[in-house]
Symmetry: C2
Subunit: 297 residues, 2 copies
Amino acid sequence: MSESTRAAAEAAGSHDSKPPPPVAIICGGGRFPLAVAESAKRAGRDILLIGLIGAADPAIAAHPHVWLRMGELGKLFQTLKGRAIVDVALIGTIARPQLLSELRPDFGALARLPEIARILIGGDNQVLTSILQLFAKEGLRVVGAQQLAPELLAPEGQMTALAPSKAMLADLDFGRACLAALSSFDVGQALVVGRRRILAIEAAEGTDGMLQRVADLRANGRVRAKGRFGVLIKAPKKGQDLRVDLPAIGPATIAVAERAMLAGIAVESHGVLMLERREIIARATAAGLFVIGFENR
Amino acid sequence: MSESTRAAAEAAGSHDSKPPPPVAIICGGGRFPLAVAESAKRAGRDILLIGLIGAADPAIAAHPHVWLRMGELGKLFQTLKGRAIVDVALIGTIARPQLLSELRPDFGALARLPEIARILIGGDNQVLTSILQLFAKEGLRVVGAQQLAPELLAPEGQMTALAPSKAMLADLDFGRACLAALSSFDVGQALVVGRRRILAIEAAEGTDGMLQRVADLRANGRVRAKGRFGVLIKAPKKGQDLRVDLPAIGPATIAVAERAMLAGIAVESHGVLMLERREIIARATAAGLFVIGFENR
């Protein structure tokens, strides 16, 4: 059993008869917060969804929930203490507030200004580390989607009937090494490589933005290839805290990978969330794309 | 005197009374081929422009010239031998032919098929190395724009009255280290960094494409900052052969850097071509951007 699945099994209470502790899920944008919440609920956990106003899906209202603005840290901590909730997860996309005024801090946030200032600057990893420190100071324990919903993580090995060629596996090795080299710069969760040529590297634009670029480069002839070409490689950055920043793919990723006429998709097993995995595999198969999970080295 | 300026001075015949040898300039797309040709002519060299059909500016016809298709290698080598030209430069953008059929090889090209096959695959550096080997085999000497027109290269130091802040210089160090880490993967001639966060990395899309992306990311709020933010860093890849693949910026770079609301531009001195430098500086100054040349370490 891996570390994360063991932690999840323990958290889900499979090793004793006590009910698992309740968990608050701070919900950013996208469909992951609900998927993780429903998975945690199926595992027998009491859940409280904290919807970030302007980001979270209104559909979270189907579960016990509270709506908060980004800056309402004081209210957040009070809410959690009032319900004796210690475990907190941060799931979904959250636009980084650039300025204190955008954050609209409440009194509880203002009381923690030095910590918050650190959150407003720096690379993603730094930001998330600062958030984790802030939560730890309040006696909260940040848990990850991989603990609440381990079945949502990419498995190891070939997921489609279609397999990558030897050349594509060589591209995978090359691309993984490039991502590893980028990790210490807190950038590069994904790239596209074809025939040992790095075609695109993800930075602030996100994976879908990068794939759309590859589609454009093929359409305008800057990347010229016959038929399916190139592999999307996606993995957590080395040292990335998977509790708060797990990379993810979903059916929409397949759609844009198809537009980019890629040959396939390789994700790090147990390191990338796959929302609606069955749908992902079905769409990839229909599009003629392979999907594999590679082992973390 | 640096290596490259010494070579240029020698080539320009400033050290002896013999006229400098003639040079053939194979002209791809863009404005660099003409700029380099005119600079070489001013330095007293006889020039022959080889226009690649479909790529080169028709304005090259103002000088002694020959038009060739991409695949007419046999004709190219005959032309050069017929005129006793040994020095050849390859200047301007050339779309990489993906397939042999696109290349439309003439007999002289077909006779060199193994070499040409290597040119059709691999990263940019590999391609260019293969081309250089092919030319060397024919007794030709490939010279670079920096030898023919050293005054077109970025100088060292601050070029605008506006200077980068200390934080921007720290970003420059951080971004340069990231580019250096990417070099061994034959990718990353440029990136944009702001407050120690890598916002964009260039791969197949080119520098202008990357800058336009940063402009889009700011417009759609994925990169949020107040006012001018971020530094474009551009440098040759380590081990890159500057004779055939010198990075370049021009006035158009400033226009798109302005759209991206960057704070400034930093280029490696003696490693980046600056076409219309006076115009670049004037536009950067008008746009409130700093421009500096940093020393190669």
